[in-house]
């Protein structure tokens, strides 16, 4: 005969209730372990999310630049001209190739964007660094019915795009230091027009002979735009460079889109073999930050797992002592019809209940501790760019993991005491 499950639960509950002190101590051990695990994993995920917002590296993008030292056509490297772009586009694993070209004509802004209430500092003129990009690179980023195409000669405002991150950096660092108004976040900026002087430079020697008034219209925001530059359609940049007699010595950079993230290293290797170099600045930073976050999270999670293991040991020790002290009670259970399997089940359920309670409390405790830590950070840390609202991320699997690990560890800890209990000889114990 094996007792019904309800009976085993009933007896386990009664045992836990009758030895409330041990139950609470064991549950507290499991709670601390589970809370630490959930807290650190959530912290790692949260910081990882923040790092990805700060360094939004696209795993499929490979940025190609001309090599510092090149043997030119001998090895197929040299300038990034249209022929080179065609060769790069034809590489296995490459889905698209988008050239970029620096605008070599200076552009400066001396007043605030139209339609934006902004306390532009009097007399301030800002040089606007512009990069021409293939519209394909920013496909889908244009909003508000605007297009990111060259408008042609005197055909109205020039469409431009900004990095989302620039707004954040501007609001958190530049605006406070200039004591000017912060920019609204998000797409409400789209459509704003910035009056500029094309050909004008704040460095007098670099100002062109011909200067004309124009307007730049913000048509979208994209993480594919370099942080401190303004993206303009490649055709516009080509046209302006040509109009001002600036001969293009090939493209500044070509961005390749790999078909799959795992193709990116293969494409990168092929690019190097062609004699070109890779601009890995942002990607390398993103990877470094990602690695640091992942390793730190792993280390903290291991530490938390160690705490859970210690909790399991504490539960094992406590339950073993408990089983030895309750040998007579176990013998009584045997006398009234419990099998060794029932007794084993009762002890395992006791461990499981402690682990489950500890896991649930730990998961809830981690959530509360995270809220507390976020509040503390909001009060103590300065408002730096990309500072997240929360440093924690709690997807459903994090508390589930904490509960499962605490439950598993407690049951694991209860295995030996359960075996000990099952071996109690009722006849000898009751004699």
């Amino acid at each position: 005969m094996t007792a019904r499950a309800g009976g085993v639960l009933w007896i386990a509950r009664a045992n836990l209730r009758s030895d409330l002190r041990s139950t609470l101590v064991n549950a507290a051990a499991a709670t601390v372990g589970a809370a630490a695990l959930a807290f650190f994993v959530a912290l790692g995920l949260g910081v990882g999310d923040a790092a990805r917002r700060m360094f939004p590296a696209d795993a499929r993008l490979v940025d190609v630049v001309p090599a510092g030292v090149s043997l030119g056509g001998v090895l197929g490297g040299g300038e990034l001209d249209d022929a080179a772009v065609a060769r790069l586009r034809a590489l296995p694993g490459v889905e698209a190739a988008w050239p970029r070209l620096t605008l070599r004509v200076p552009i400066a802004a001396g007043q605030a964007p139209e339609g934006l209430r902004y306390n532009w500092p009097p007399g301030l003129t800002v040089q606007v660094p512009v990069l021409g990009v293939d519209p394909g690179l920013l496909a889908g980023a244009a909003e508000g019915g605007f297009s990111f195409e060259d408008p042609g000669d005197d055909a109205g405002p020039i469409p431009v795009m900004l990095s989302r991150r620039l707004i954040e950096v501007y609001n958190k660092t530049i605006a406070p230091s200039w004591n000017v108004r912060k920019l609204p976040m998000g797409l409400s900026l789209v459509g704003l027009q910035l009056p500029v002087q094309v050909g004008y430079s704040i460095v007098p020697q670099k100002t062109e002979d011909r200067i004309f008034e124009s307007r730049l219209r913000l048509v979208g925001l994209s993480d594919r735009v370099p942080l401190y530059m303004l993206a303009m359609p490649l055709g516009t940049v080509r046209r302006l460079n040509r109009e001002y007699g600036k001969v293009d010595a090939g493209y500044t950079q070509v961005t390749l889109l790999a078909r799959r993230p795992e193709d990116a290293p293969i494409v990168a290797a092929a690019v190097r073999r062609m004699g070109f170099a890779l601009d890995e600045g942002e990607r390398a930073t993103a990877e470094r930050v990602g690695t640091v976050v992942a390793v730190t999270t792993l280390a903290l999670a291991l530490l938390a797992t160690l705490m859970v293991a210690l909790a399991a040991l504490a539960i094992a020790q406590s339950l073993s002592a408990n089983v030895r002290a309750r040998a007579r009670e176990i013998a009584i259970l045997r006398a009234v019809g419990a099998t060794p399997a029932d007794v084993r089940g009762i002890i395992l359920v006791e461990g499981g209940v402690v682990g489950l309670a500890g896991g649930l409390l730990g998961a809830a405790g981690a959530r509360l501790a995270a809220l507390g830590a976020d509040r503390l950070a909001a009060r103590l840390l300065p408002d730096f760019p990309f500072r997240p609202e929360t440093f924690f991320s709690f997807p459903a699997w994090v508390p589930a993991l904490a509960v499962a690990v605490a439950l598993g560890a407690a049951i694991l800890g209860a295995l030996a005491p359960a075996a000990l209990a099952a071996r109690v000889d009722p006849a000898r114990t009751l004699a």
Partner: protein
């Protein structure tokens, strides 16, 4: 109800072997109250645990409620104890964390395919009432006197509706008056058709039995 034939039992203490039972024969019919007397260490309790299917390591043949204990698995012996045998011990052996009612419910709680908890509770209440403890159902054992604890233990033994009641020095920890009450209860139970086997060294208990057997040198006489 119970038939023991040529029961032997040997304990091993390191390299030493101590033979406690040396061929015990015993038969008890339904409704019979049998007392087994003997000195301390004579093996009375050991015999009781063999008869009660608590100890499966013995020689000879033991038949309880028509079933041979030697041929039974651990699970089957547990089921037999649960359904057909009730135990009463000298030190009551109630679970201290449970109330009187919960202690009485224990065999039913462990029974597979048993009745719902509400039914068990009712039966436990009836068993407590039968031994005069109906008003102490919620009390923990620590709050009960020795006699009351023993009555709860008897109620627990009876709640499962056993055919055989095995009592090991049931009055050993009780005063004379309380002990008399317990003995009277055993006689009533036997009169109701229950086979009662009482191990004792007290004359007042053996006097109440229909048959008194002496365990000496590992044999009954």
């Amino acid at each position: 109800m119970i038939a023991l034939r040529a029961i032997t039992k040997t304990f091993h203490d390191g390299s030493q072997e101590v033979q406690v039972l040396r061929g015990v024969d015993l038969e008890a019919a339904p409704g019979e109250l049998v007392a087994i007397v003997g000195q301390s260490g004579s093996g009375k309790s050991t015999l009781l645990y063999v008869a009660g299917a608590l100890d499966g390591d013995f020689g000879g043949e033991a038949i309880v409620a028509g079933r041979s204990l030697r041929a039974m698995s651990e699970r089957d012996r547990a089921e037999l104890r649960n359904r057909r045998i009730g135990f009463v011990f000298q030190s009551f052996n109630l679970l201290p964390g449970l109330s009187a009612l919960e202690n009485v419910m224990l065999p039913g709680v462990l029974r597979r395919g048993g009745e719902p908890f509400e039914g068990l509770r009712e039966r436990a209440r009836a068993a407590l009432a039968r031994v005069g403890m109906g008003d102490k159902a919620t009390a923990r054992p620590a709050r009960l006197s020795g006699g009351e604890r023993q009555r709860v233990a008897i109620a627990r033994a009876l709640a499962a509706g056993p055919a055989l009641l095995l009592a090991d020095e049931p009055t050993g920890n009780l005063d004379a008056t309380t002990g008399e009450g317990i003995i009277r209860l055993f006689r009533e139970l036997a009169a109701g058709g229950l086979t009662v086997l009482v191990v004792t060294h007290e004359e007042r208990v053996s006097r109440a039995a229909e048959r008194v057997l002496h365990l000496q040198d590992g044999r009954l006489s």
